[in-house]
Symmetry: C2
Subunit: 231 residues, 2 copies
DNA sequence: AAGTTGCGTCAATGGTGTTGACATAAGGAC
DNA sequence: GTCCTTATGTCAACACCATTGACGCAACTT
């Protein structure tokens, strides 16, 4: 990791050769756009530099390394998804909406999500999200420890599904296609004798190609409801 | 993707310069070992070639590209984890053991798991695993469609958690440390007024640094049990 | 107007996957 | 046992990648 290249406060605003003035925010914006527009390979320091109209190495004046940049971009996504989220109704609906927001936010930026869903950004937007999530669990009547444990189980399940589906979406087209078609091709051709269970559900197997997020979320929330009633 | 470089049946067994005779199996073995022993950056075609004592490009005679190799390695891991698994007791215990097997198998190979948990290997070991998993759901009394849907929710939740935790484990040490310490450092220093919920559970927040897999699994299985009774 | 120094630029290092041409030895045919 | 074919290992090259240290300009401070 580079040391001392990233000042906290920036005083001199020197434009690049092409005239743009770099900003931490501008870079994050551009990275987000770039990762979205072009394919899975789009996000590299060199391309980012080209898109910003600056030398690639200029980015190291703003972020220690690509990991640092990634966390900043990830936090931006969290901010987007949680923007204006202030759950008012019952806690379960709040959790459901939070789950949907996180999931769809990550689905909108699959490439970043696949790389960052398991990270702790340690930044402002993530702080707010955890604050809200734990607040919802507390509203469900859970004690301090149970609230934290259940929030962890909840958010990790949501993030896990988001990461899985995002990684699938971020796959190069021919690979994504190959994985998806497995359920209508390879799995359909297995010998019945060796795979009796698969033979029986043959016509339902294509369901495996779709996201199971909604089903898993329903199961998880119903379990939390039971726990809340029992506790 | 290279075309026609990977014959199905191999007749001529020509040794490399260092004397070893390459095999699809040998390569997968070596990749698995390499990814485990050394750091997160260990698995590259060049290192693999060096470890096998052959030219890196020789691998392209056995696998179309690194993605093809990755899927082969992933399927090997599935095979390892499901080896000798033949659930006999009640379906819920069977699912629980399957979840533990998958999770710990992936935890043993975090680098590969992080890259492949969301893939469909379309290979023998995966076929068997799905066969067993859907069989367990059927044993729980679910109809064809419900069995497939619930199996998808189940396995994706398990894989999601496995992927999350594996990716965390596979992180470079200083990054993993940074993410982990967030809960005992950054999250402990937030101002109480702005984050009242976090302030209240301050002493329980370090729980967030641990895996939530067991808790999430308990919740999921209890929900499936309720569904089975209701349906 | 002069002096510091922040920050954009350049060039270089050592990594990556992948490919096409090449050479050689393995195995089949006789 | 010898010849032929060709599978397969090797080599060199291409086009990328992140990162760093030296350099020098220009934007602020004084």
């Amino acid at each position: 990791m580079a040391t001392g290249r990233v000042p906290v406060e920036r005083r001199r605003r020197r434009p690049t050769k092409t005239g743009t003035v770099l900003t931490e925010e501008l870079i994050v914006d551009c990275a987000l756009r770039l990762a979205g527009e072009h394919g899975a390979e789009a996000l590299s320091v060199r391309r980012l530099g080209a898109a910003l109209g600056c030398d690639p190495s200029a980015l190291y004046r703003y972020f220690h390394d690509t990991d640092d940049l990634l966390l900043a971009v990830a936090d931006r996504i969290i901010g987007e998804t949680m923007h204006d989220f202030a759950p008012e109704g019952d806690w379960l609906s709040g959790l459901r909406e939070m789950a949907h927001r996180v999931y769809s936010g990550y689905s909108r930026h699959p490439r970043i999500a696949a790389m960052a869903a398991y990270r702790v950004t340690r930044r402002a937007h993530e702080f707010r999200a955890v604050e809200i999530g734990i607040g919802l669990m507390r509203r469900g009547g859970f004690g301090k420890e149970a609230a934290v444990r259940h929030y962890a189980a909840f958010i990790d399940t949501v993030l896990g599904h988001a990461a899985l589906d995002a990684a699938h979406l971020a796959l190069a087209p021919e690979r994504r296609g190959g994985d998806t078609r497995a359920w209508t091709e390879a799995y359909q051709d297995l010998p019945d004798a060796a795979y009796p269970q698969l033979a029986e559900v043959r016509h339902e197997l294509p369901l495996m190609a779709h996201s199971s997020f909604e089903n898993a979320l329903d199961l998880l929330l119903s379990a939390l409801e039971s726990q809340a009633r029992a506790g």
